[in-house]
């Protein structure tokens, strides 16, 4: 018997990373800005996205969404009410979306006809951060009901995000939300990140968020 050490030096998620790189090329070629929305269950990703889709459509933008959940197509039905094309991805127990799921669900969509594609990830602050979906912008969402230390508890996600959105600002006060502390914690984990304080219910902060999307679409898809 002989023993031998075989050097591999290979990414464990190499297959996903390669697929994601292919997706990124397709998005760029199609001139569509792709965002991956990640948060805990109950943060209000769907409500925030409903409002985003509606307002972007009112401004004449062409938008679409893919929405991931373990089971049910409830979210896809809610989002489709905005009039945008929406597809549900049921992961059947898998705790995150991966590049292959995205690739399969894009079949038949002409990316060149879109300005924005939103991917609403499975509600989970851990696993989705390992999986690149080829997105240009990863958005970490946090609601005022969740506790200001969420970024410190889940640094892997917040550190990999390009933008942070605080949701449910309309109930910040009754929840005793410490705004300064939340902003400080987000900045501690991801210094200099763009932060949007929003309410899908009242529309607070949506103007700034939509302006950011427009800026990013113009600069990043070129």
């Amino acid at each position: 018997m002989t023993t031998r050490i075989v050097e591999l030096r290979r990414g464990i998620l190499k297959k996903n990373d390669e697929l994601a790189a292919g997706l990124r090329e397709r998005y760029t070629a199609g001139g569509v800005l792709v965002l991956n929305l990640v948060s805990s269950p109950g943060t209000g990703k769907t409500a925030f996205l409903e409002r985003t889709l509606r307002e972007l459509r009112e401004r004449g933008s062409k938008v679409a969404a893919l929405v991931g959940d373990l089971e049910t197509d409830n979210d896809a039905r809610r989002l489709a009410a905005s009039g945008a094309p929406v597809r549900q991805i049921n992961t059947h127990g898998i705790c995150h979306l991966d590049a292959e799921m995205i690739s399969k669900h894009l079949d038949g969509w002409e990316l060149a006809d879109l300005d924005y594609l939103f991917i609403e990830n499975v509600g989970n602050l851990v696993c989705p951060s390992s999986y690149d979906l080829g997105e240009k912008i990863r958005v970490a969402l946090l609601s005022v009901t969740e506790g200001e230390d969420k970024p410190l508890k889940y640094p892997t996600l917040f550190n990999s995000a390009d933008a942070a959105v605080i949701t449910k600002m309309d109930i910040a006060e009754p929840c005793g939300f410490d705004r300064e502390l939340a902003l400080k914690n987000i900045n501690e984990i991801r210094p200099g990140i763009r932060i949007f304080e929003t309410s899908a219910k009242t529309g607070t902060g949506m103007e700034g968020w939509l302006g950011y999307l427009e800026e990013e679409r113009v600069s990043r898809t070129r």
């Binding site: 018997m1 002989t2 023993t3 031998r4 050490i5 075989v6 050097e7 591999l8 030096r9 290979r10 990414g11 464990i12 998620l13 190499k14 297959k15 898998i94 705790c95 995150h96 989970n124 851990v126 696993c127 951060s129 390992s130 410190l152 640094p155 892997t156 996600l157 550190n159 990999s160 900045n187 501690e188 984990i189 991801r190 210094p191 200099g192």
Partner: protein
């Protein structure tokens, strides 16, 4: 939560590479995991036995080398290692740093195999035993 699927893809990758070493038995697999890789090392180890069962990796050891976060501090113009993942500030000058240089690794470094010797293999071939 996704550690089983991570471990399963390690098993698949090693098995693919094993095609070059017929009859070999895997003794050890070494992974490199960054502090920001969002995987729990204990869970990887827990899943290892389950994922390797019935494969050429059954009974092998999983060794996980954890890698700290290294940021580039623009202020010090140097790569600096962070003590943890609770504050992304330069430990020297306390300025915030956003330029990550290391810490998201999730790699298979290497694996160790035991191979039957040439003579042994040849002898087995002669008597019609599959290596």
């Amino acid at each position: 939560m996704h550690e089983l699927s991570i471990v399963s893809s390690v098993v698949d990758t090693v098995q693919e590479s094993l095609e070059k070493y017929p009859g070999a038995r895997v003794v050890e697999v070494r992974l490199k995991v960054g502090a920001l890789a969002s995987v729990v090392v204990d869970s990887l180890e827990f899943c290892w036995g389950i994922a390797t069962e019935g494969t050429a990796l059954a009974g092998s050891r999983l060794v996980v080398l954890t890698v700290p976060v290294v940021m580039h501090c623009a202020h010090c113009d140097a790569d600096v290692e962070l003590d943890g993942v609770q504050s992304f500030r330069c430990p020297r000058c306390d300025e915030p740093c956003g330029d990550l240089r290391q810490g998201r690794e999730l790699d298979i470094e290497s694996f160790e195999i035991e191979e039957a010797d040439e003579a042994e293999t040849a002898a087995k071939r002669e008597i019609g035993v599959k290596a």
